[in-house]
Symmetry: C2
Subunit: 492 residues, 2 copies
């Protein structure tokens, strides 16, 4: 496979798939729809996890772990949730293999080892967790219960795509229980904010915070708060959701608590999650035709040094100089790779680190040694600068911050250019067709209209933005009255 990528303008989807594989992020596995996350891709996930985990803990949550399997009877207890996921469940029916009498050396499922009750591989853990919470919650003193788990889940998808939609994916799922509705709503909105802070400050990916329309809501939720990001092809990506579950699960699993006043009440619930899908969003927000572009805060390697030398002596002289700088950078918490491999030429290394999105690349050759300089290239703008070795550390430190900010700014600008306010359905269709991106329009609030718009344009309501202004208007399709604009887009 050539190192050259398909161009985004030629085939965005092909560009994406090639990039994920060529930049060594992930690949398809022998299991249909399940991916292998390669070390370089997993290192990005680890950085995301570390940051999110810190943020969850700072907001009072603790981690726990719940079983992979959900007995069918628990799974079906909350009907809407069960119905929502039933069509994509991997089901364990047997617990043993045996030698296959018809095929020597092969195994078959042992028909004697059929489970009395089938086990669903968790597509989400509300059922198993609320069945557990029943034993944990008796009194208001046990509330709020603020738990998160990092786990794998399985949703049997027919059409899959690395990171964006896979049968198995990695995620975190927060599950909280509260004494009052107000507190639970506050929690789900807080986690929406946490997600937005993370995606914007660390991923440099701007998001719109809003609430889902009825038809896009999580199965079993009363309200789904979402963060929606815009990708470079003009499609929206649902990047994280936080659900106010009302008392649906508490009722399904009979989880009551004794209030301060001594009354028995059902508990109020939330759940919220982000997944390895975020890596897909990260890629599609910043990357270009040369490969991945990573924001410094999540880059596994922030700075790479490529020595340009002939013979061992020159390499030694370069190493001596650079080791001092490497050490200083690492002391500042900057991750540096000094690539001294002699099996690849500098040009090949340049291309490799461009493909892998390393934010800052340093090249140093013999003339630099003589002049006391370095060449510093930034991945986001591809600009190069000659810098005095003595100034290198502080220059790089500032540059990493600048790149982080620049990526965010570029993404914000892109979103601005690709958000269109429309008042007629003709404008709507034109915007979706020409500009892509978000279309802000009045809507009459009915599922029927939503469905018809989707049918005509493939665009769906991404959210009703939290900051949507109250204003009088008429539905872009039906002309019926509407009090606020909502955001439409084609979506992943």
């Amino acid at each position: 496979m050539s190192k050259h990528l398909t161009k985004r303008a030629d085939d965005y989807s092909k560009w994406y798939n090639e990039l994920v594989v060529k930049a060594d992020l992930a690949e398809n596995s022998a299991v249909r729809g399940c991916m292998v996350i390669k070390p370089y891709g997993f290192a990005i996930w680890e950085k995301m996890q570390a940051e999110l985990d810190r943020m969850f803990k700072e907001t009072g949550h603790e981690n726990a772990y719940f079983p992979l399997f959900v007995p069918k009877s628990l799974f079906e207890a909350e009907e809407k949730n069960a119905e929502g996921f039933a069509k994509e469940c991997a089901v364990v029916t047997h617990y043993r293999l045996q030698n296959d009498p018809d095929n020597p050396g092969k195994l078959r499922v042992d028909p004697e080892a059929k489970l009395e009750e089938e086990l669903v591989v968790r597509p989400t853990s509300e059922a198993i967790i609320w069945n557990t919470y029943k034993g944990w919650i008796q009194s208001y003193r046990d509330l709020p219960l603020l738990i998160n788990q990092w786990a794998n889940v399985v949703r049997w998808e027919m059409r899959t795509r690395l990171f964006l939609r896979t049968a198995e994916f990695l995620w975190q799922e927060g599950h909280t229980a509260h004494a009052t509705k107000a507190e639970a709503v506050k929690e789900s909105r807080q986690m929406q904010d946490v997600y937005a802070t993370f995606t914007e400050n660390f991923m440099a990916m701007p998001v719109i915070k809003g609430v889902k329309s009825d038809s896009e809501r999580f199965a079993g939720a009363e309200d789904t708060y979402t963060i929606e990001a815009l990708m470079q092809d003009g499609k929206a990506l649902q990047a994280g959701t936080s659900h106010f579950l009302g008392q649906n699960f508490a009722k399904a699993f009979d989880v009551k608590f004794t209030s301060k006043e001594g009354k028995q009440e059902y508990v109020w619930a939330t759940s919220w999650g982000v997944s390895t899908r975020l890596i897909g969003g990260l890629i599609m927000t910043h990357s270009d035709d040369l490969g991945l572009v990573l924001p410094p805060k999540l880059a596994p390697i922030q700075v790479v040094i490529v020595p340009i030398y002939k013979g061992e002596d020159q390499l030694e002289a370069i190493s001596e100089k650079m080791n001092v700088i490497v050490k200083e950078l690492r002391l500042k918490g900057i991750s540096v790779k000094f690539d001294t491999r002699d099996t690849y030429r500098p040009g090949a290394k340049f291309a490799e680190y461009e493909l892998k999105g390393v934010p800052v690349r340093i090249a140093i050759g013999n003339r630099d040694l003589e002049n006391g300089t370095l060449e510093i290239a930034r991945r986001d703008t591809l600009e190069k600068q000659t810098v005095a070795q003595d100034d290198a550390v502080s220059y790089i430190e500032n540059l990493l911050e600048e790149i982080q900010e620049n990526l965010f700014k570029k993404a914000i600008d892109f979103r601005k250019e690709h958000t269109t306010e429309v008042d007629t359905f003709d404008e709507f269709k034109k915007a979706i067709k020409n500009t892509g991106g978000f279309v802000s329009a009045h809507w009459d609030g009915t599922e029927e209209t939503e469905d018809r718009i989707k049918e005509y344009t493939k665009a769906t309501i991404r959210c009703i933005p939290n900051d949507a202004k109250e204003e009088k208007g008429v539905c872009v399709l039906t002309g019926k009255p509407s009090s606020k604009r909502v955001l439409f887009a084609k979506a992943y």
Copy 2:
């Protein structure tokens, strides 16, 4: 359920089960054999993970993630491995549920959604990983490949026990590929050393390093290096294993590389893992009849402060004093909980933190305020000391180290007292029956003898210790010649 534990001397196994549940570490779930790891138990696992992960990375390993499911045809490719795990495999046969026509509101497995090929829920990942490595390894330049994954695995066990043996458990599994046999053997021994360093330095749990006999070896391995710990009931616990897999998986999955000399050769493999079972070992090494005893390096809460007060004014005065100390302790990286709950009395709090094994407990009341003192209790020896507030921080810092060392020393002493060198089978039987623990004896090297000894005494060969001296002897059962002593014990 009463807070009082069954005494170890009365029923060790009952004591263990009660302790795990009452100390809020874990509980059984609605899924047979699968546990829920509660936040306090999971916090210990997180500390273990962080430390092990650091050690793996320092020895050059990277993390990745591989699919949960293994197609049956891949699973059976390495025959010994497949045979070893076939009897305990959870198997996914269907990918969809549907409404049950016979039971309104219920779901059933959709018979139309049968998978063409069944998927095994990974009991271990060699098969799926080596099938992937085939694509990653072409030349000696791609070697060594040093990968680890943190994952859940499922082994359908009939008799389960929280942490020690559960159907689903959390673990890490390292999978490495090397150009030479020598390098692969070195890697598997290195990881045995890493495990031993971790269990001894962090868990304060001494281990014997050795190699497994043929019958105790991992299915598909050429050699299994193990670390074996001794529990307080005289039984051994296999705490971690590192396998030299030879070329078995490389041959089964046809993974060859071009050597420096241009020859096509099969790759050499290792795999190694430790699991949430370590938490069981941690509990059984140190805990007592009052509850859990945690080594400071892995304790989620290292220091707890219990104020003893009447009225808000006294609490305020105590808090003012303690907040300074809390801040100083935290600056030193010590985790402190200041328990100001007014819903529990100090006595109840003392009992709770004893049960939860918090290494250091500070009590402070009105008289202490007047005298500028604190009462500091250590969990390991239950000793109390009055200390000047001004000296508290450095006192506690030293005390935490002392507790860590003391726990290790106690465990070493216990093991010494429970290790018996025997030369006759009568001595052997007496040692297993009376002292329990490790029995060091000559063995003729045959599986048959091993089986007979197990039949007579229930003891198995835990390992042939790495440091076993070459010495002439005769097998304790058969009188046949033997060149070194091996370690027997009853085991978990």
